[in-house]
Each structure stands twice: as C-alpha cells, then as structure tokens.
Subunit: 456 residues, 2 copies
Amino acid sequence: MLRKLFTPVLALLAGSAMAQSDDSLMIRNIADEILVNGKAYENLRVLCKTVGGRVAGSPQMLKAESWGVKALQAAGADKVWLQECMVPHWVRGAKEEAYYLIDGKKIALNVLALGNSMGSGPKGVSAPIILINSFEELEKRKDEIKGKIVFYNYKFNSKFVKTFQSYGDASRYRGTGASRAAKYGALAVLVRSMSHSTDNHPHTGAMNYDTSYSKIPAAAVGLEDADKLAAALAANKKVSGFLKTNAQMLPDEKGHNVIGELIGTEHPEQIITIGGHLDSWDPAEGAHDDGAGCVHSIEVLRVLKAIGYKPKNTIRIVLFANEENGLRGGTAYAKEAKEKGEKHIFALESDAGGFTPRGFGFSLANPSQLQKVQTWADLFKPYGVFELTNGGGGADIGPLKGALGTPLAGFVPDSQRYFDIHHAKSDVFENVNKRELELGAVNMAALIYLIDKYGL
Amino acid sequence: MLRKLFTPVLALLAGSAMAQSDDSLMIRNIADEILVNGKAYENLRVLCKTVGGRVAGSPQMLKAESWGVKALQAAGADKVWLQECMVPHWVRGAKEEAYYLIDGKKIALNVLALGNSMGSGPKGVSAPIILINSFEELEKRKDEIKGKIVFYNYKFNSKFVKTFQSYGDASRYRGTGASRAAKYGALAVLVRSMSHSTDNHPHTGAMNYDTSYSKIPAAAVGLEDADKLAAALAANKKVSGFLKTNAQMLPDEKGHNVIGELIGTEHPEQIITIGGHLDSWDPAEGAHDDGAGCVHSIEVLRVLKAIGYKPKNTIRIVLFANEENGLRGGTAYAKEAKEKGEKHIFALESDAGGFTPRGFGFSLANPSQLQKVQTWADLFKPYGVFELTNGGGGADIGPLKGALGTPLAGFVPDSQRYFDIHHAKSDVFENVNKRELELGAVNMAALIYLIDKYGL
C-alpha cells in the first residue's frame, strides 16, 4: 500500500529532476553561446561609439533607432518594426557656467543642468547661496529662501547596501527640489549629485516643475564641489554664486520604439516582452543606462535563435524610445497593446546597468507564481543569480502592468558601481565589463526560456 | 502533554531566533561603521600610491612593512610586531624587448618576463617561433621544438563562469611551460596572458624551473599581441622572433610578516588569523592583488575595536611577507605557530580581490562545521554573501592547516574582473571600487564575529 501511495509522488519527483536536468543543459547551452560568441559587448560598443548620448528628440535618437533596427535584424529577428510615439524634446544648449565667490575670489563649480529644466536666461542668476540639507530644513527656513540660490546638499546614504535605496531616498531633491524652493522665492537651485562616486562629475537626470510656481533653473553639482561649497557655507562665510544654464524644452518630436520578434510556434498570439530603453542623457554614452539593457535584450533573442530554440510564445524585444524624461515609449507601447487586445503573458526589463548579475525582482499576479519561479532557483545559481524576490519590474514595462495586468520582472545586477556613473560623463563603454554584461544576458535568456516553456 | 513536549523545542527555536536577531543587529553595526567611517579605501590608496608595486626582497617591501605597522596601530591593535622570514629576491631588471619578424618587418610585442625567470643574457634570443596551443601539441611536435622560441597560446576558457577555474586551467602553462619546452631544446618561451581582458597588457606571475633542464627565458604576452602573433604563425608564414629579458634571482633577503592583534578576553591563547599578502608583482600597484586583502584584514580589526566588541579569542591580523613567488610568509608563520604550540582555531584569507562580495569557501575539519556555518546564511545575505560552500582557504594560510589542522576559509568576491587586471599594469587603486571593497570587509568582520562568538 505504501508503495502504491508513493509511486506517483516518486514519479513526479523523478520527472521534475529530469526536467531540471534538461533545463540545466539548455541553460548551459545558452551560457556557452553567449560567453563564447556573444554580440552584446560589440553591439554596445557600436551604440556608444557611433551614436553616443541620445536624449529623446535629438538627432542621435534617430541614429540610435537605426542602430537598433540593424542589431535586431542581425540577431535573427523574424520581424523588425518601428512603433511611433511622440517624445519630449529637451535641449541642454551651451555648456553651463557656475561659480561661487568667497572674499571676492571666484571658485568654479562643475555643474550640469537637470533634464527638463529651463535655462537661466543669458544673464544667468547671481544671488547669495543658502545651504539646505533637507526638505525639513527648507520648511524651517522658508523665510530665508527668497532671492537666493538654494543648494540642496542631501547626501546619498552610505548605509543602504543596495544603492537603489539611496537613490530612491535622495532623488526627490532632484525631482521636486526646484519647485519646492521656488515656492519660497528661490531664484535657482543647485543639487548635490545622487552618487557615491569618488570623482567630481555632476550627475544629471530628470526634474519636473510644479506649474504653480516659477520655473527656476536647476543644476546638479559634483560631489567634490558640493563638499567644498557646503564647507564654505557651513563656515558661515557670506557666499554668493552665479549660475547660467541654457536649456530649453522644445515642442515634442516624433520618436519610435524599436521592436523585433521571434514568432511563437504554439501560441504566437501570446507575447513575452523583453526590453530596455534606447534614450540616454547627453553628457555620456548611456553605456550602462541603458545601452546595457538594450544589448541584453537583443542578445536574448540572438541566443535563442542561435541555439535553435523554438519559442512556444512570441518573444518580443522592445527598445523603448523615451524613459529618462517622459516614459513616452513604455506608455505608447502599453496603449497600443491594449487597443489591439494583445495578450501579454510576461515582461522583463533590464535598466539597472550591465554589472555582474545578482537576481530578478518580480511583480506577479499572486504568490504562487513567485513560488513557481523560485523552484527554478538552482538553475540560476551557477550563473550568479541568487535572488528571486518579490517586487520589481521596470519603468518602461510598468504601463503594461497598469493596462493589462501583465506580470513583470526586472533584472537586478550588482548595484555598487551603478550610481558612480549614472547620468554622468563616466557612463561610457569603457566602464562596462564584457563578461559581466554577457552574464546578465545569460540569466535573462534563462528566465525567458523557463517562462516560455513552463508559463507562470 | 503535547504542550510539554513542544515547550523545550519552542524555547530553543525562540532562543535561536533571538540570537539571530542580536547577531543581525551586531552585523548591522559592523556594516554601518565600515560604510560610513571605513578606512580600508584610504589605507589602500596610501599603500598603492606611496609604496606601489612591492616584490619580495625589494626596497618597496620594506616600505610596505612600515605602512602595515602604522595602519595596524592606527586601527587600534593591542600589539603590533614583525615576524622575520627569508624571502626570494627576484629582480626584473631593465624593460624587456621583444618582437617578431614577418617579411623582414619588425612587429613589437608587449611582454613581461615571468616572475622567477632568468634573463636571456645581453644578446637576447633570436630564433624561429613555433605556435603551440597545448601541452598535448607540444608532446606531439616535440621534434620540432629544438632551437626555437615556443609560443604557448593556450586560451583562458570563457565557458567557466567562475574565472578562477579558467586560471587553474591555464596557469600551468605559465608555471611549467618553460621547462617542458626546454626539455625538447627550446631557447625561450612566450606565454599567452591568463586573462579575459580587452586590452593588451601582459600579465606576469610566478614560474618555476625544473632543474633537470636548461633555465630558458620566459615572458607573458598581452592578448592582442598574442592573437596577432598566433594569426601570423597560423598563416604558415615563417616567423622568427627576438626576446631579451633582464631578470635575475639574487640571494634571499630578510623580510617580515606584519602582525597585529586584539587580545582575547576569555581565551587569549586561542588565535583567529585573518590575512592577506603584502607582496605584489612589480608592474602595477598590487591594488586588488593583494592590497585589498591587506586592508580588508586591517579593517576587520579596526571595526571590532571601533564598535567596542571584545573578542573572546585573540584576533590576529597577518600581512604575509611573500605569497607570489615563494609562499615564505605563510610557511614561516605556520612553522613558528607549531614550534610555539600555539592554538589556532580558525584562519581566514582575502586574496581574490576587492570586488563585490559573493561568499566564503571553507576547508573545515568535518561536515558538521560547515552545517553550523550555513545556519548563519541569512545573516550574510543583506550584505551580498550568498555562497557558503565547501572548499577554499588561501595560499598564505594553507600551511597552517598543514601544520596544525586549522580550519580555513577564503573570502570569495565576484571573479569577473579579477583576471582582467591580475599581475598586470592595470592592477591599480583606480580599479578598486570603494563600496565593493568595504562590503568585503563587512562580510569578513561578520564571519569573524560569529566564529569568535559561537566557535565552529
């Protein structure tokens, strides 16, 4: 009796072990193909070195779209097309000028205008600088703000081990600091860069104006300069400053999501989306943010084709047009998917850099889906992924969840180096490690293979 | 009755949960202190920038010893001293010259003499070059070797995810290739660098002569040059080459292990050793290899002192005098420990770079010790350590296991970038990330705290 009772269980276990062994071999094939013949690194080199920085609406955006089409075709996509969407068109203009004065001596500040910010006008802003360490301090000292340049010196918190937590904590100063200061009559804001870097590069990024208040100029300051300026202000010296930025927001431009597919053999109507965003900030090459995510995604398609895997579902790679300052690409993609009644069974984004893999974060429909994913844990460990956790996705695929309830995941590489280079001139190809980039693609392809095969 | 039966079990579980919670808080303290006030990065800067490369026996070795004494004193050691040992004294001499000739055209090769190798003499070696891809090929073609320069082009295997496996596989060509070729009459060897790097820097490292054969010169070739040379030879062109190296092995010099202690409060006679090696190859600054291990180890002592932790056992930091080309430091340390009848309960080494933490590898006395360590797994995960595995240690602490059976562990950081810079001119301070380095020290200090508190 006991034997009879246990037979189905044993059969199930044996079946599961065999499946894991087959899957393990398939993932080993994926890894070998990428680690030996991978194209992600060379694709990234071409994007970084022949296109470079590519703000939405810029001429480089169009060059990047052409790059994406060619790369997807070369990877073996069954079909490649452009999906139109309107994107914001912010331009930095001429290089910013900034300095502060102590005892009549000008000390230059290395700054970058924040994305979406308005220029100061040709005369710039000359005013006393006030050091503000937090929004709490801003509120306490609101009567001292008028007619001044507010310098937000809120520090990137070293105690968070995962640096995205520090970013989530500090980035509100970049996003909303200008309008919060303008509310009390500030003439401009300088914002300490959101970074642990040991250099002085300023880190730009999007800000947004609250239209209730004056649209004052806003710029990021490198960490060394921020420390010097804060020390000068803390020493109670009267410090005045000058900021001239030349940015402007022009009318929207036509841009495109670049899309490539492997058409599913059993359920071509069921779509699995894998993507990153094609736009980047202008001061650098957008190598990690998010060239890496684009080439990761293209490599997933390439490797499945190269090893002869026939996906059951349609594998669709999307290089989103505009994440940094508008999310127009992801919004347009989800809108069309809903309008067409498409069936999106899963979406995966890579937008946290091309560093050594750590895990995936999931936003799924229910806990049993995550439990299912976690039964695959041992398949990922040989390739460096140990964390399959709840919570995650990506900015570009977020609207798909909103529109269609699509289950999401975000690729999670190691975060220690990301904010050293994020939105700064150091986000260049040379700061990407070939094998780390490749291992990201290995794990992404492995996840897509498992989800295509077993569903969620 | 059921209640009574379960009470002790529940109490045990509750006790264990409380212990984990206390430990979790203590490790959080360790992390906060290191991530906010850490000295490892600045210590490493001083070592790299004021001492630089420090081959055993060189004047820089003595400067490094002084640095170590000061750094351990500043970290708060109860006691700091030097332990004498004789070390080899190999000198590179003047810069190497190497080229090959195709159709009378000289093409320069970027090479570095291998550590311990003999110079070619002032005239250098001029001879035809033969491409040998493996030792198997060498044996097959042994009759073609005489009078030639053997170029070993064995590739670093991309398929191994953990690059130390590729190193273990390829490094025998560096270690024994010269004598194996000399056996068949070769005049010199060139060895493809053991690396996945995308640059052309040659990677040196120790070799050893089999004294049965002629001591022929041996040098490492950068990867780009190796590929070009291999292509030229594969095209069946007659390729001759020239190699001049100027190295020599001088008589042994007096060197020292630099040692600092926190004396145990309950069992001062029980010693826990934590170390890295102070020597490095000369072409770079030995930042990752093994400056990182030295400053990791010093930081363990510093943080325990800074947070006011009183270790039960003696915590002893050892900066070993000579790992790269002789292992004299670790050998002398174990010898004295045995002679004095010291009780060494555990030893931990960091000698795999200062990259983002992944795990620890253990060589313990029995499986139950590893099981005990693995009960601590959840305490490490917030700091990036997910792998507590069997097998590991370190070259310098290996003799301690041999002499006294001491249980060992090796710190395992991410390995993707290590061999890009290992033993090459790119192993400089600028290629170390501050937070990755600090997180290594966090996990090492956490492990030492747990072993000091609970034993093995």
